[in-house]
């Protein structure tokens, strides 16, 4: 049984200014499943709908972001939750942080600047579990951060006294206090230098190994996915264009967009200039007909311009949305 079943999700940002309404479809027909005990990576360039998708998945969306249709169904073993119809109070008390925790993009500034780190832990634990004995809570928290390789003394500091890497680790430590079923991490390493990045990613991986939960890792950095993810989904203009186990996607990308992405990665010793891709991602307020990638795709055929390619399973665990692949069989 999948932990998450996401079916045909359509979500858009709708704004109305002076009676003129504008709608931007940031997620347009995404379906995917997350299983227990895996790291699923979502990749894609800026404005491909990654963050919108996880805002819906984590139940943290509010206007102007709206879900038009789709189904977001979680199965946490003991109980199931439909994210789009759940009562907000029930979501807050039973699901948030206990089952789904969310390491936000820009974790550098997610800590209250006038509160010591320990107080933030205290707030969260008090809300979801209650603190009967302050002393044992402090002891447990110190052990928790120490297990994750953080010096326990950071708990007595204010956020501005920590480095960016430390703050990111604190954010991850906060996300794992209750060992949730799903940890959503949105660009957890983007603002960090590579050495710190490695430490943060290792920490995330160790946590996942230890508690065998699911991590949904969102980043535009394919190198991170290559090192971390079990499966990778590639998003382009609000849709998933390809999904496959990590090894498969890097060895043999099927979608032309994925192929270009992977070809753009540098490899050691190779000094040839990387080939760029002309054009820019489409404007989601008026996306092109057919396959959304066709204006930039060097292999595009007539069918691509008119007909939307469906996401088709071409091998076990491997799905791709491209007419060329499905036509060739």
């Amino acid at each position: 049984m999948a932990l998450l079943q996401l079916e045909d999700l359509h979500a858009c940002y709708r704004t109305e200014v002076y009676g003129i309404s504008r709608s931007v479809r940031a997620v347009d027909g995404v379906s995917l499943e997350l299983y227990e005990n895996e790291i699923y990576g979502i990749a894609g360039e800026s404005s491909s709908g990654k963050t919108t998708l996880i805002k819906v998945l984590s139940g943290t969306f509010k206007p102007p972001l709206r879900v038009e249709s789709g189904r977001v169904h979680y199965n946490f073993g003991s109980f199931a939750v439909d994210m789009l119809s759940i009562d907000p109070e029930e979501l807050r008390q039973n699901v948030r942080w206990k089952q789904i925790s969310y390491v936000m993009q820009g974790s550098m500034s997610v800590l209250n600047p006038v509160r010591k780190i320990m107080r933030t832990f205290e707030d969260i634990v008090r809300t979801h579990q209650g603190i009967a004995d302050k002393k044992s809570f402090v002891e447990q928290t110190r052990q928790h951060v120490q297990r994750l390789g953080l010096p326990p003394d950071v708990l007595d500091l204010y956020p501005h006294q920590l480095s960016g890497g430390m703050r990111q680790r604190v954010a991850i430590a906060l996300a794992t206090v209750f060992h949730p079923s799903l940890i959503i991490a949105d660009e957890p390493t983007t603002a960090l230098d590579v050495v710190v990045q490695r430490g943060v990613l290792q920490m995330l991986k160790e946590i996942q190994n230890e508690s065998a939960n699911t991590v949904l890792l969102v980043t535009h950095d394919l190198a991170v996915h290559a090192n971390m993810a079990d499966r990778v989904g590639i998003m382009y203009a609000g849709r998933i264009v390809e999904e496959a186990p990590t090894a498969a996607i890097f060895q043999r990308p099927r979608h032309p967009y994925t192929a270009h992405l992977i070809r753009s990665l540098p490899s050691i010793g190779d000094k040839t200039i990387r080939e760029g891709l002309g054009g820019a991602p489409p404007n989601l307020a008026s996306p092109p007909n057919g396959c959304r990638f066709h204006p930039r795709c060097p292999l595009a055929i007539d069918r691509c311009r008119t007909e939307v390619p469906p996401l088709t399973t071409i091998a076990p665990q491997q799905r791709v949305a491209c007419h060329l692949v499905t036509e060739a069989g």
Partner: protein, 336 residues
Amino acid sequence: MRKFVLSYLIPRIGQYLLVIFLGVTLTFVIPRLSPNDPVEQQVSQLMMSGSQVSPEAIEHMRVALTEMYGLAGSPWEQYWAFWGRLLRGDLGPSLSSFPTPVNQLLATAMPWTFGLLIPSIVISWVVGNILGAIASYYENNRVIQVVDVVSQAVRPIPYYIMALVLLAVFSYWIPIFPFSGAYPPGARVEFSLSFVLTVLYHSLLPLLSLVLIGIGGWFIGMKSLTSNIIAEDYVVYAENTGLPRRQILTQYIMRNAMLPQITGLALQLGMLFSGALIMEVVFGYPGMGTLTFQAVMANDYTLIMGITLLSIVGVATTVLILDLIYPLFDPRVRIQ
């Protein structure tokens, strides 16, 4: 600690003393740049009153007045003498109610102003900030929307206009409050329950006019501060972690939005010494504002200087205290 004293506290206090020194010097210089010669003014007033005075007596008086006003000798000598008297805490006699010392006039007026302004500043700060934060966080609440509209409407009204309106409504049309004064004319100023109640009754309209306008100002300020804080990552994060809304409002939003408001509060409290001039005049309230007004109308230089000096010291001291305690409110401002 040692480092704190040497590298922060001592320079900061030095800065404080410098500000006061410059302020005092300016209070000394500015009246002397005025074309009005207080001695000649006094003398001509006397002559205009028509009384027959011999030229010798006038000359005698001139010398005596010059001495008394501290205008004898070269500017440097005057300046020295000025500081000498000041450091002894002597602000000289008031000219308009000669020979009452300025000190005594200030001491009589100050409690009235403090008693009226401190509660009104504190009440409007607390209420305005709480309402402002709530208004921004619970945007869709009907009651709050009404408060918002009222505040926007009240805020631009000058407080003395508000005072006049309140007087017209509550003392003239519906005569339930007294027209003026802090107590009935002729009442003995004493510390008894009945007298305190009378004072409260008399102070209600002035207090109301200050509080209404004050709340409007703090409300609007806090609302816009809060609407910025609400979009901060740490607030969104706190919501994502499922913290109760009330806790997010108080400990995450208000706690951070309040920081600039604390500075504003301190500055207002520093202005206490000059009183709320027009409001006090409108209500005939015997505080610093009325005293200032009378001093200006009567060309009472020593009194004006006394009030100005007090304000300078008041503002400089509150700012100094604020600087020293601000790290308690915002840990990011640790003193280097």
